[in-house]
């Protein structure tokens, strides 16, 4: 090949590569703007009216200018009009008048934030958060917050990910990384180097909580004590537990024998140790929330290119019945009664 032909071939590659890229970006942007323009506007309601009665706070995933903002619907009318606030969160939770909002401001420098907001949605406390937000929970009395985030570089083999879970006493100075707690397994204190914690749920006593620990490729349900800085394994293959309002049952996701990256929901009676699979047959990667004493709710992303939008479903916690759509275009639900 003569130098001239080489140069022409190279210019052709550059033109194709740059032109194709720009063409794709322009087309995609036009398509996105089109989708926003033609999106069925979600019915809006006033926040005051909804907040007066029992309601569900969630992350709005309806495409458009309000995507990602915190919204709420009345429990009596979950697929009805929603009130959208001005606050943007990736993960949101509400208890005792406080809102915990985890947020990744993605850009050249991605900053991660965990803010505690009051009833007027003004920031009252900023909690530490390292990495992409994953789970958020408040204790029932609103005094403690638990955050889980994915941390890059927090690992013993290069390029891996791991999680960091921190329990904070919001009004005090305690910012407790669960990795500093004592871990007891089969009656023995252990400290596997590859252990990771995620998905905290609090009991009503202001001390007890449940969470997930993993090491050596397996996951376990742990019962923890904030005061004693102690964690004890209870049950194998259980992630992101959620404690029922009466404290008798946890519902969690388990891998079972399914393919990697898929989970089924199961409930564990903490008194009897009996595990029951719930009626949801799809994979669920969420920490469920209790709608009432008998039902749990959780988000499921839509498939393929519509995955930015997710819907919240409800299923009985005792394994009976069938899942049902509760709130369309919603994620990270928190029930406020």
């Amino acid at each position: 090949m003569s130098p001239r032909i080489r140069l022409v071939a190279f210019l052709a590659v550059v033109i194709l590569a740059v032109g194709g890229s720009i063409g794709y970006l322009v087309g995609s942007r036009a398509e996105q703007q089109d989708a926003v323009r033609h999106a069925t506007p979600v019915e809006q309601a006033s926040a005051e009216a909804i907040q007066d009665a029992a309601h569900i706070v969630f992350r709005n995933t309806a495409l458009g200018p309000d995507y990602g903002k915190v919204a709420m619907v009345a429990i009596e009318d979950p697929d009805g009009a929603r009130a959208v606030t001005t606050v943007t969160c990736d993960r949101v939770y509400v208890a005792a008048g406080r809102t915990l909002c985890l947020f990744a401001d993605r850009g050249l420098v991605t900053t991660h934030r965990a803010d505690v907001l009051d009833r007027d949605l003004s920031v009252t406390h900023e909690l530490p958060l390292t990495g992409v937000p994953s789970r958020a929970r408040l204790s029932p009395d609103g005094s403690m917050a638990a955050t889980t985030s994915f941390v890059a570089g927090d690992s013993y083999a290069t390029g891996n990910f791991s999680t960091r879970t921190v329990i904070s006493r919001i009004d005090g100075d305690d910012r407790l990384d669960l990795e500093t707690f004592t871990l007891v397994h089969d009656g023995r204190e252990i400290a596997p180097v590859d252990r990771n914690y995620w998905g905290v749920t609090f009991a009503a006593d202001g001390d007890t909580f449940y969470a997930t620990v993993s090491w050596d490729g397996r996951t376990w349900l742990v019962e923890g004590s904030v005061d004693d800085r102690l964690l004890t394994t209870l049950h194998a293959d259980a992630e992101c537990p959620s404690l029922s309002p009466d404290g008798s049952t946890v519902v969690y996701k388990k891998r079972g024998a399914g393919p990697p990256g898929t989970w089924r929901l199961a409930g564990l009676d903490l008194g009897t140790g009996v595990e029951t699979m719930l009626a949801e047959t799809r994979t669920v990667d969420d920490q469920v929330e209790w709608l009432d004493a008998k039902h749990v709710i959780y988000g499921i992303p839509r498939s393929g290119s519509a995955a930015a939008t997710s819907d919240v479903f409800v299923v009985p916690a005792d394994g009976s019945g069938a899942p049902d759509l509760l709130i369309p275009q919603a994620w990270s639900p928190a029930v406020v009664r």
Binding site: R6, Y24, R106, A157, N160, S162
Partner: protein, 434 residues
Amino acid sequence: MNDGCSGEHVYLTDRSRAEGGAGKVSARGVTRTVVLLGLVSLFTDISSEAVSAVLPIYLTVVLGLTPLAYGFIDGIYQGVSALVRILGGWLADRGDHPKWIAVLGYGVSALTRLALIPSQSMAAITGVITADRLGKGIRTAPRDALIAASSAPEAMGRSFGVHRALDTTGAMIGPLLAFTILMVVPEDYTAVFVVSFAAAAIGLAILLLFVPDLRPRRDAVAARPAAAAGVAPPKPSLRLLADRRFAKLVAAAGLLGILTIGDGFLYLVLQQRDELATAYFPLLYVGTSFAYLVLAVPLGALADRVGRATVFLGGHLALLAAYACAGGPVGGAIPTILCLLFLGTYYAATDGVLAALAARVVQTPVRASGIATTQTAVAVARFVSSVGFGLMWTMLGQRPAMVIVGVALIAALPLAWVLLRGVEAGPSEEAVVE
């Protein structure tokens, strides 16, 4: 003889022959081919780092996967990549066409960008990422052999410095490009993959169209004095690789590699001490890369002047300084920034310099294999180190673990110096024609 070369100056002959018609040696001793290979790496790194920057978010937010599962598998394939690297080096030596092995490696990685677009499951993404790792493993040694083959021995350090600086520039542009794309078309990760493929294609085109098909072994033999002409080029063999000086080099690099705390750990130490480091976590990488980028060429040139082994060992002093800044009692912006700069200095003084050193120590017919072996020894040593350091961190605490590794590194440096003494005398080319 070839190209009118007398054969008296073996290296000059080697170089001008290697360059063929493809390039001139610039005033500062870096050839066009080296710059072209740097540009290939620049575009390929734009491509791969753009994907790496968005992959965690893509996996968790869009595909709903748990990165933990991904990370677990990722660890396993690191080992595969190390083995493939040696294979890539061996194939390059064996066929004496390092360019074509490099094309294979870069080509595989470019194709994985396209394959990412339809991949919606854990298994598919794992497969695609594995293919990318294999491509990276295959191409590294032949590419470094090409850099060595197109550099004058006295400018080898600078050549590798220029290449690594361009490579790091690409690694810094990649994430910026990715996040710019996501600002233009929010949530459209396919757009990042499309642009990433385009960048990889440009890099591959530069390699295919402009980088000459160098024949390091044939040219080394052709450059022999007339007395040796007509002797068949020796096939690369383990015997050629099993050289005492080369063994010393690998031992020294491995020894120091075991006492290297991974960046991930250093960043973690900084984060645990400092709110600042936590808030600007992504900038830690940028700080290190910046120092690497700025210092790669000057330190490579310094290595050519004062000796590559000296600069290689000196780089580990910078690493010690980085440990001191990270593990010391004083927190705040200045020690954190100093730590990142020292870490970047360490990379600038060791990564390309080690490749230059290996390229000089082994004989030309096994040069790619030699470079691959050295790099793999360092990679394996660092992996052992990260597991060991993780254990010590858990059992003894962070500060004692750092002190132990730091003291061990101080003790190991004189030993490494003894091992590296005289290693750099240049390959005994006569052995080639024996």
